[in-house]
């Protein structure tokens, strides 16, 4: 590893370097020399894979050396296989786009095998003209495409545990993903159907076996809701709602009904099972809040993180993801001393509203115990709360919309643990 200059400037205590450290230092940092054995063992200067033509074209899977990067924490309700969740392996990813095969899942009665030729989207209820749309006809409508996150409001729910659970970043915070979502603005279809003046909400229902349903206010629908048909350039994967889903930028994932079949315009919410008994937020006074739609400002350090241990003192890249349901990320601050001093992280170029934003910084670990944490601030001035602040006013075992600061503890061996301060 390249030597650090002696006159190095620290941006905060306990080794946090200037966020542009890597840029300033050039490409030499972290390079190192290849070991002699890796250079050649049998041929003069060819690895085995250089001695014959490679695999045929048309392979689409990841390298066999990366097969451990798969959805984590796959679990279903007892007696079922498709009623549960799986998580995005955020600790192994970089950038802001979640590969579709790794997008988190939350289903309520399995993944339906929908024939798009038979599927119809029906808009009915308080409209002038109840309408049915085929996939073929929807393809002729104006499409929009935006890079936006989707987060289950149960994400990070394990963080309410009284004692910190020793789980990987994915198993704590992996119910968030970010995709380029493409489809038809729902406003166009509702304008075509003609909303009656008393139409104030919609009830969206899926064509899964549970006919999952959620009520959504008409303001959101007419603002930026889309009927998503594409994810990262290809048709939606079945696990993300093929052939179409409701997508509500910045709002809790459960309301973005997959396998969307019907939209009924109503005068009020239907008070479905999910929006009342599940995705409601119980306060400590026994009153529960309904329709807590937007996802709060949040960040997570994905590396170093539990299971990605440090291998010795020296310079490391700290990186992670930040997002807010209210707009763009304005800044992410990092601390390596448990929140006493903070330094600003570098944000990657793509800072988009309601999208994952990648942050990075450099850190010189001196081999002593450290606590590293990140804190995001969005363009509306919302600041990611501490764990203590998050609990104020909430019932003890409510876990939806957990967006508090996460702390990773580093011990002298370089092992990472989930810690509470």
């Amino acid at each position: 590893m390249k030597e650090t200059p002696d006159n190095i400037n620290f941006a905060a205590n306990n080794g946090l370097l200037d966020r542009r450290f890597f840029l300033k230092a050039g490409l030499g940092v972290g390079g190192g020399l290849m070991s002699a054995s890796a250079l050649s063992s049998e041929g003069k200067d060819r690895f085995p894979w250089m001695k014959q033509p490679g695999m045929p074209m048309g392979q689409s899977g990841p390298s066999r050396f990366e097969e451990h990067i798969k959805r984590e924490g796959v679990g279903s309700q007892p007696g079922t296989t498709g009623s549960g969740a799986s998580r995005t392996p955020i600790e192994y990813l970089d950038g802001i786009i979640t590969p579709s095969r790794l997008h988190f899942e939350r289903h309520h009665s399995g993944i339906p095998d929908i024939d798009p030729a038979q599927h119809r989207l029906v808009i009915h209820g308080l409209v002038e003209r109840p309408l049915s749309f085929s996939m073929e006809s929807l393809a002729r409508y104006e499409h929009v495409s935006n890079i936006q996150f989707l987060e289950c409001s149960g994400n990070s729910g394990a963080m309410i545990s009284p004692k910190p659970l020793q789980r990987k970043a994915s198993n704590l915070h992996g119910l968030v993903s970010c995709s380029e979502w493409g489809g038809v603005p729902l406003k166009i279809l509702l304008d075509e159907a003609g909303i009656k003046p008393e139409g104030k909400w919609i009830v969206a229902s899926g064509s899964d076996a549970a006919m999952m349903s959620r009520s959504v206010p008409i303001e959101k629908i007419m603002d930026d809701a889309i009927i998503a048909t594409h994810q990262n350039g290809e048709p939606l994967r079945p696990s993300n709602g093929y052939p179409m889903r409701l997508f509500l930028p910045g709002w809790e994932g459960n309301a973005c009904v997959k396998w969307l079949r019907t939209i009924k315009v109503t005068s009020g919410p239907s008070m479905t099972k999910d929006e009342t008994s599940k995705y409601s937020d119980l306060r400590d006074d026994g009153i529960a809040e309904l329709f807590t739609f937007p996802m709060g400002v949040k960040s997570v350090i994905t590396s170093p993180s539990l299971s990605l241990n440090l291998t010795g003192p020296g310079i490391y890249q700290i990186k992670g993801i930040a997002w807010s349901g209210s707009g763009k990320i304005k800044s992410v601050e990092l601390s390596a001393d448990g929140g006493k001093t903070w330094a600003e992280a570098l944000l990657d170029e793509h800072v988009l509203p309601k999208a994952l934003t990648r942050f990075r910084s450099a850190w010189k670990w001196d081999g002593t115990p450290a606590t590293i944490m990140s804190r995001a601030i969005d363009e509306k001035g919302n600041i990611q709360p501490t764990r203590e602040q998050w609990f104020v006013g909430r019932a003890k075992n409510t876990f939806y919309h957990f967006n508090a600061i996460q702390t990773w503890g580093v011990n002298t061996a370089g092992e990472i643990n989930n810690v509470y301060l």
């Binding site: 007696g79 549970a210 349903s213 009342t276 026994g286």
Partner: protein, 183 residues
């Protein structure tokens, strides 16, 4: 000669107008190609499962807890346990009065705000392995049984489109809206 020139100008103007119209459609700008097919009331009846807390959307039919108890043992008990407690998939009864306490226990009876939700959810999604196989009478009966287990109604009380919305859940006052339309 003169008239043919006029005609030529008129045709040109017409071509320009048509072209502008085509291009105007080409730049979408929220313009719909109007491809939605108007559907009949009969068709809507087949696909509309939405039930409102007012009872709007509830179908005909009825049932009580006595019938519901028998149906429950056949279709529900394996996952939800005897008397809707202690099953592998969540209690549907009990937990009353715990919601404002130190360890809130959310069940249908202790937490759910409206009785209509029970009907709506059973009709949509249950039994888990065979959704859509219960008649409306059976769904009303199962709903009545769950309500009766939670002390909301008596075992002979008939639940139907008129009576179900009036069944007052114990925690019906326990909710407020975080969303306000003016936001």
């Amino acid at each position: 000669m003169f008239t043919s020139k006029i005609t030529k100008i008129a045709v040109n103007i017409l071509i320009i107008l048509i072209a502008q119209n085509i291009f105007a459609d080409d730049v979408f700008d929220g313009v719909s190609p109007q491809l939605g097919v108007v559907i009949s009331d009969d068709y809507i009846e087949q696909i509309d499962f939405v039930v409102m807390p007012s009872g709007d959307g509830l179908p005909g039919g009825s049932g009580n807890a006595v019938t519901g108890k028998v149906l429950y043992s056949i279709h529900c008990m394996a996952c939800h346990g005897p008397d809707a407690k202690g099953g592998i998939n969540g209690d549907l009864a009990g937990g009353h009065g715990t919601i404002s306490g130190p360890i809130p226990k959310k069940t249908v009876g202790s937490y759910w705000p409206y009785a209509t939700i029970i009907f709506d959810y059973i009709r949509r999604a249950m039994p888990y392995q065979l959704p859509g196989t219960l008649s409306n009478n059976e769904v009303y009966a199962l709903t009545a049984y769950i309500l009766n287990l939670n002390g909301v109604i008596g075992e002979d009380e008939l639940m139907n489109a008129q009576t179900l919305p009036k069944a007052k859940m114990p925690n019906s006052e326990g909710f407020i809206w975080a969303y306000s339309p003016s936001e």
